[in-house]
């Protein structure tokens, strides 16, 4: 019987293997060249040449990989709680996830943008968008932590975001869902969409030195879906381009109803003109509600503020801001070439790729070469702005990035490939298969003025048989291509967290040199900091108990606390006294309906704990810190409400004689 089972299992396994082979698309194996391993190999102890900042999609986080190795270095918590790092669980980090809806523990981060100066990455910040509850986050690249999150009013589904201008003057956030404006009554029939729904584009200013974000203005637009966007650069600096779909303004079964027209639009926005209108006081103040959250590296804590006003410019009333360029068909990607001369639209259902000329567009606007208008916005004639079309490029074009040799690389979802074509003559030069169904792609510096065309990464929506199976849910995948030669060469597959949408690749040297190693304890301005073991204390304030605790290799001070009573709320304020790199301490308490703390050197973090029963509760360090890490532990005694056990705390206090005897 047993033998039978083994034999059957063996047969099944062979059958499965055969099936797996049979299911693989043809030539899946031979697309990898012999020296691929050498090209992506980074020896142990050696550094990668590039950082790759990758959106985590529905994980809500941003991940950091090295290229060409594909090694994962860090997952930066941005829009979702992360119990591993205490993000969203510590008292200090909770305000980061506050919104006008209250505390939101999750979101969907789609696009990553690195800050730019003169059209090139400057290594200061990374931005990410929240697609569900509309927000934009700024990540500090000194600390690889989320420094600021701003919510967006008048929005639903912040998808065409957080794309930025060439000097990071603005981060934009275009709404994917059009919605009724926040100050109007939203309790209306959904099928009054055409009458009552609007799209808004938010222009968020960014402080040159401190990076602080502020919604400078919003532009109220027709009720379309604003899908993706890119800033003009070089010659087209001062303009922004947004792809729009659902110009049919359907409110149901968009799969069919928003695919009716042959052409939707790319909307060109003259933001310099919008600035002029703003200065001239043409904006209208609108009453709204949105959260603005800032993390301070000095107090090691976040603050959240609800703001109540935004200035809105109306595209219908204020001429010369917005123009439509017809674009076939349900455009998704809307990408601008390194010189800023060309705008590439990628219609998800289009059989060609239209390339628009910025120069021709300006001439058409000047000559009023319009085919009419839509809701007061002029529609430029398709041919008047068109530079040319890439013929028969592939099926389902989505996104385009560029190299420094005049070539463009477009991802094709339906035909699962990356296609390289020349911007000038619009001829297809090369095709490389992806496994499978590529969405976004990125070239090192591929959206800057000076791309570094060494590597391209394809971010695939389907993984299927690429890795060892892990049940129904599989890792998403990225594929690395060497694009330094005429032909694209796939050199590596690597799994990613969440679902990767857009990503960016920057030279490691730009960022690694600024990486912070620890926080100076002298500069710690957390109101609950403990600077030295001599300053440790436990203080009762009503039913709140504040524990001012220190951590250093390898003990907490104090590590014995008594006198906590049922009904108390205990706040462990833990200061990591270490002043060296790579020495975080962790902190956890048994039964806490919360997470751990992970406290960086010089930092203070607070864990709230409400004891649920009388007894002895162990506490310990969760991050292996030294040979005696396992000794880094302590106890908290919880007594019944009304007990007369005094509040005491100690470290290394001698054991009373009587107890020692009893224990023997």
């Amino acid at each position: 019987m047993k033998q039978f089972i083994i034999r059957m299992t063996g047969l099944a396994a062979i059958a499965l293997l055969l099936c797996m082979n049979a299911c693989k698309p043809k030539n899946a194996g031979n697309t990898v060249s012999a020296d691929a391993a050498k090209k992506s190999y980074v020896a142990p102890g050696q550094y990668d040449e590039f950082y790759n900042f990758v959106s985590g999609g529905f994980s809500g986080q941003m991940s950091v990989y090295g290229l060409p190795s594909g090694r994962l270095f860090r997952v930066i918590p941005v829009f979702s709680v992360d119990p591993e790092k205490g993000y969203g669980y510590s008292e200090e980090s909770k305000p980061m996830l506050m919104t006008s809806h209250g505390f939101v523990p999750w979101d969907d981060l789609h696009h990553v943008q690195l800050s730019k100066t003169n059209g090139d990455y400057d290594g200061k910040w990374a931005f990410g968008n929240a697609n569900n509850t509309p927000r934009v986050a700024r990540i500090d690249l000194k600390t690889f932590r989320t420094a600021e999150i701003i919510e967006l009013p008048n929005s639903g589904g912040n998808h065409s975001s957080p794309f930025i201008t060439e000097n990071t003057e603005y981060v934009v956030a275009g709404t994917r869902f059009s919605v009724p404006m926040d100050d109007t009554n939203g309790d209306i029939p959904i099928n009054t969409y055409k009458k009552n729904f609007s799209g808004t584009l938010s222009f968020i200013s960014v402080g040159k030195e401190d990076g602080k974000m502020d919604i400078a203005f919003q532009i109220k637009c027709p009720g379309f879906n604003f899908d993706l966007s890119r800033a003009g650069k070089g010659v087209s600096h001062g303009w922004f381009f947004f792809s729009c779909y659902n110009t049919e303004q359907a409110n149901s079964l968009l799969e069919v109803n928003a695919s009716q027209k042959d052409k939707d639009y790319i909307m060109a926005v003259n933001w310099k003109k919008a600035e002029e209108y703003l200065k001239a006081g043409k904006g209208k103040k609108q009453s709204v509600k949105y959260a603005h959250n800032v993390y301070s590296d000095k107090t090691h804590s976040a603050t959240s503020e609800i703001k109540t006003e935004v200035i809105v410019l109306d595209s219908k009333e204020l001429k010369d801001i917005c123009y439509f360029m017809p674009c076939p068909k349900s455009p998704h990607g809307c990408d601008v070439s390194p010189t800023g001369e060309y705008i590439v639209g990628s219609g998800k259902l289009a059989a060609i790729i239209p390339v628009f000329s910025f120069d021709k567009m300006i001439k058409a606007i000047t000559a009023k070469d319009f085919a009419g208008d839509v809701e007061g916005i002029p529609v430029i004639k398709y041919e008047s702005a068109l530079y040319g079309e890439v013929k028969k490029p592939g099926l389902g074009p989505l996104h385009t990035e560029f190299d420094n040799k005049g070539n463009a690389y477009t991802s094709f979802f339906v035909s699962s490939e990356v296609v390289k074509w020349n911007i000038k003559d619009l001829k297809v030069l090369d095709r490389a298969p992806t496994y499978y169904s590529v969405g976004h792609l990125c070239v090192a510096g591929g959206d800057t003025k000076t791309p570094n065309a060494k590597y391209l990464v394809a971010y695939n929506k389907i993984t299927k048989d690429r890795f060892l199976p892990t049940g129904p849910e599989l890792a998403q995948s990225a594929q690395l291509y060497d694009i330094s030669g005429d032909k694209m060469e796939m050199i590596l597959d690597f799994p990613t967290i969440g679902e990767p949408h857009y990503a960016q690749i920057a030279p490691a040297s730009l960022i690694s040199k600024n990486s912070q190693k620890f926080y100076k304890i002298e500069e710690n301005a957390n109101p609950y900091v403990t600077k030295g073991e001599g300053a440790t204390k436990v203080v009762r304030e009503g039913n709140k108990i504040h524990v001012y605790m220190t951590a250093i290799r390898s003990h907490f001070s104090p590590d014995n606390i008594e006198g906590v009573k049922m009904g108390d709320e205990v706040y462990f304020h833990i200061t990591n006294m270490e002043q060296d790199w790579d020495v975080p301490h962790g902190f956890a308490v048994k039964g806490a309906i919360n997470a751990e703390l992970l406290i960086m050197p010089g930092e203070t973090q607070t864990l709230k704990w409400v004891p649920d029963r009388v007894g002895i509760f162990p506490i310990y360090c969760t991050d292996f810190c030294s040979a005696l890490h396992q000794e880094m532990q302590g106890y908290v005694r919880v007594s019944p409400a009304g007990s007369n056990v005094p509040l005491t705390f100690s470290l290394g206090a001698p054991v009373p004689k009587a107890d020692s005897v009893v224990n023997k």
Partner: protein, 159 residues
């Protein structure tokens, strides 16, 4: 059985600690294994009284500078007190009583500012590590903090 297992782990771990010390650069200059040798002993130019670091000659006045010692006390309470008592009792690290008699000013200041390299090279520092088994953290002291701490140690030693 259990005890020897634990000892084994500790021994292994201390090798790990020693071999990965100073590895905060990508230069590959620290060769694993070589650091566990008492390298300094074999190096005739190494001065075990001075140690390894930037301090070659520290000027010490005959009497304790009270202001400096006071500053040293402040630094001590933030960066050192967690592990070092002012008596001769060992806590995590050795107690400070008598430390200025056992070591020269240069050695102490080099050790507290150049901790990793000293722990990798210096025979006296390594002997302490074998007793304490916790590598002293580099607390990133400024030069003047180190000098002030030395003055505070002198005061503590009743000099």
């Amino acid at each position: 059985m259990k005890k020897s297992f634990v000892m084994g782990i500790i021994t292994l771990f201390s090798f790990y600690l020693i071999s990965c010390g100073g590895g905060n650069s990508n230069s590959g200059s620290s060769v694993p294994g070589s650091n566990s040798e008492p390298a300094a002993n074999g190096n005739p130019s190494y001065d075990p009284n001075r140690g390894q670091g930037k301090f070659t000659k520290v000027d010490v006045a005959p009497t304790v500078d009270a202001t400096m010692a006071d500053n040293g006390n402040k630094v001590y309470s933030v960066k050192c007190q967690s592990c070092h008592k002012l008596t001769d009792e060992k806590l995590v690290g050795p107690g400070w009583k008598g430390v200025t008699g056992r070591n020269a000013a240069e050695w102490i200041m080099n050790f507290i500012t150049n901790t990793d390299e000293m722990l990798n090279k210096d025979p006296k520092a390594q002997a302490q590590l074998e007793i304490c088994l916790v590598r002293m953290p580099n607390q990133n002291l400024a030069d003047e903090d180190a000098r002030a701490l030395y003055e505070f140690m002198r005061k503590n030693d009743g000099k």
